[in-house]
């Protein structure tokens, strides 16, 4: 085996880093086999397959929102606004270009790119206030943006005044393959971005903006980049949504949808790419599958997700639960099962090393200097003895 540089600067191929792509491809393969062979019965084709597209759309939305919330550490409550722009622009372009040939992939590609770019432009514009505002203020601005977008769209005749703009659809049975392809692209872009030097720069802005600035990190560039990329993929998700729906309506993109996406990101664990994917897939599945997807269950779902959100956030952040969290957490549970070191022990190791290091350097300093402090320590001991 090739020896790797343990500083981690040399990028070597690690299967662990590509696990999520593999899992997604495996899911795709399983779906294709099940559909092709009909092994899961006709129910499968009618009940499961239609959910695949919304799941894909929400996975992309959650992945892209996670960039802003998880990596940049800012709360965006306007993600559905970007999706709205993508959906209306892409949907309209697709319906203009569409020649009745339903499976026209090239039209879809143009719609995806233009929809995404339009959303990205607005992402850039929303990113501008983010340069001056943080936290609660920025959250309100993004929320306001979402409301402005839906309010304006519903007044534009070009977009059928935001109500039931007819959009083309890919009626092909295998259209979900496109969704999977886009998920993989999104994942590749976002994951590589996060793991790059730029990703670390962004997370340093999240943790301490002023410190990041003093390190020479270009805050303006990074904040705008994050908002723009995030909005681009939300726009793409919007175009996919417009293909999924027979017609689109401005009410599909109100701010409660932004909050739904936020719930997915938070439940998945802010900053965790795989968590966002899993939470988005799970919640969208629940929302669309079987009895629980019925309209009469919608309020129960809202209340349930809200409760879970509150409990999860309190559990993860409450200062009073710190001891509890350290005692019982998933990672340590796994660690115990596999007899690895728990995170607490790891931290203790680090602390021990640090103290040893500092003791060492202290000793060096003492030797180098005129041994004043050594004497001081001795006399202190003597003084203590005398006291006793």
């Amino acid at each position: 085996m090739r020896k790797t540089n343990d500083l981690g600067l040399n990028k070597s191929f690690k299967f662990k880093n590509y696990l999520n792509y593999t899992v997604i491809l495996a899911v795709l393969a399983v779906l294709m086999i099940l559909q092709f062979t009909g092994a899961a019965g006709t129910d499968f084709n009618y009940k499961i397959m239609p959910i695949v597209i919304p799941i894909g759309v929400y996975v992309i939305l959650a992945l892209s929102l996670n960039m802003v919330v998880g990596f940049l550490g800012e709360l965006s409550l306007g993600h559905a606004g970007f999706m709205c722009i993508g959906a209306f622009v892409g949907g309209k372009i697709a319906s203009l270009l569409d020649t009745g040939d339903n499976a026209n992939i090239s039209v879809m590609l143009i719609a995806l790119i233009l929809g995404g770019l339009c959303a990205a432009l607005f992402g850039f514009i929303v990113g501008l206030p983010a340069l001056r505002l943080r936290g609660d203020y920025l959250a309100i601005v993004t929320l306001a943006f979402n409301m402005i977008i839906t309010d304006v769209i519903k007044e534009i005749p070009f977009f059928a005044k935001g109500s039931n703009l007819p959009t083309p659809s890919l009626k092909d049975e295998y259209n979900y393959i496109i969704i999977f392809a886009i998920i993989l692209i999104t994942l590749a872009v976002i994951q590589n971005f996060a793991r790059s030097k730029h990703g670390r720069a962004i997370m340093s802005i999240r943790d301490n903006e002023i410190a990041a600035r003093t390190m020479g990190i270009n805050i303006v560039k990074y904040k705008l980049t994050v908002f723009t990329i995030s909005a681009f993929f939300a726009g793409i998700a919007g175009v996919l949504w417009s293909y999924y729906q027979p017609g689109i309506n401005y009410e599909m993109f109100k701010y409660n949808v932004s909050i739904e996406i936020l719930v997915m990101v938070v439940l998945g664990g802010m900053g965790s790419v795989n968590g966002s994917i899993l939470a988005a897939a799970l919640i969208t599945f629940i929302n669309n599958y079987g009895k629980f997807s019925e309209e009469s269950f919608a309020p129960y779902r809202t209340v349930l997700y809200a409760l879970i959100l509150i409990i999860v956030v309190i559990y993860r952040n409450a200062p009073g639960l710190k001891g509890f969290r350290e005692k019982y957490n998933m990672k340590d549970l796994f660690a115990k099962i596999f007899k690895k070191k728990t995170s607490q022990e790891k931290l203790e190791d680090i602390a021990d090393k640090e103290t040893k290091k500092s003791e060492k350097s202290d000793k060096k300093e003492q030797k180098l200097s005129n041994k004043v402090s050594k004497k001081a320590a001795k006399s202190a001991k003597n003084a203590k003895k005398e006291d006793r």
């Binding site: 919330v69 203020y137 309020p299 129960y300 956030v313």
Partner: protein, 311 residues
């Protein structure tokens, strides 16, 4: 429409926003958090007024008092269960929790609604649909124009009352904060929690009082909004809540006169947009654009103190 009449109507709408904004600004200034659920506390208050007034035939003053009491209890319960455990946690976590509380509250009437629709128990069904299908309250509203000494003024009695209540509330709050011991303790907590603790101030108690005052204002706001003719609904408080928070931010969050000023400004702006048929569909867009512009050029708001973030 007559300019003066529009202005007065704007002041009246602004008064309602100002009352809501005062609730936001109190909590934001002292507990240092955006209580996203404030609008939904108003919603609960509106259901209570509606139900006690129209279904139980309570005297308006009793149903208003009941609503205020319920709002206060709700506010205190929310603070205790959802926000207090997060004291000292990152503000992002607190804000997300507040958003969760907001959608939780909005989901509750919707759940009652589904129960009433799917229930087989006809008595329960009737009772629930009685609560859940509110009508606008006309009896409580005096839409008549104010007449004094035989002269008709271009303002309805309810609009005038709204403005008076707002101004009175603002003055009362200012006096309370400036003069009372608890009010000064609130300022101390807002400025520096550790130093306030060293004075022997019980931080949690002060924050509970803050939430109680904020929620009582939500009850008042529910009353004022109902008198404008909007029926109660699960999303009753959501949009006005966000608009009023914007008003509080525009005026300078944490500042009591700022909240009132922001409220009146937004109210007047919205009413004038409404009066113009070309602008009226864009009124929310205009209001929020003003918010964004003001935030960009003066993030601390019109009357707020610019405060630099500490390293």
């Amino acid at each position: 429409m007559d300019f003066l009449e529009t202005l007065l109507n704007g002041l009246s709408l602004g008064g309602t926003y100002a009352i809501i904004a005062l609730g936001y600004t109190m909590v934001y200034g002292i507990a240092k958090m955006l209580n996203f659920a404030h609008g939904d506390i108003i919603m609960v208050g509106s259901y209570i007024i509606w139900f006690t007034f129209l279904r139980l035939d309570c005297h308006p003053s009793i149903s208003i008092a009941l609503a205020i009491i319920c709002c206060v209890i709700l506010g205190i319960v929310i603070e205790r269960l959802a926000y207090r455990p997060l004291r000292g946690a990152p503000s992002l976590a607190v804000l997300i929790t507040a958003i969760g509380v907001s959608s939780l509250l909005q989901g509750l009437p919707a759940i009652l609604d589904t129960i009433s629709k799917s229930s087989n128990n006809s008595a329960l069904k009737e009772k629930l649909s009685g609560i859940l299908n509110p009508l606008p309250i006309q009896d409580m509203v005096h839409t008549n124009k104010l007449v004094l000494f035989g002269v008709e003024f271009p303002i309805s009695i309810s609009a005038l009352v709204t403005i008076l209540i707002t101004v009175a509330t603002m003055i009362a709050l200012t006096v309370f904060i400036k003069k009372s011991k608890t009010g000064k303790a609130m300022v101390a907590v807002s400025e520096n929690r550790d130093a306030a603790l060293l004075m022997g101030i019980h931080i949690n108690k002060i924050i509970v009082v803050t939430f109680a005052i904020g929620s009582a204002l939500a009850g008042v706001a529910a009353t004022l909004m109902l008198t404008k003719g909007t029926p109660a609904s699960p999303s009753f408080g959501a949009l006005p809540g966000i608009v009023a928070f914007s008003a509080a931010v525009i005026g300078g969050i944490g500042s009591i006169p700022g909240a009132a000023l922001g409220g009146f400004l937004i109210g007047i702006l919205e009413t004038f947009c409404n009066a113009n048929s070309a602008l009226s569909p864009y009124r929310n867009a205009i209001v929020f654009s003003v918010l964004i512009i003001i935030l960009l050029f003066k993030p601390s708001g019109i009357l707020g103190n610019p405060r630099r973030e500490k390293v």
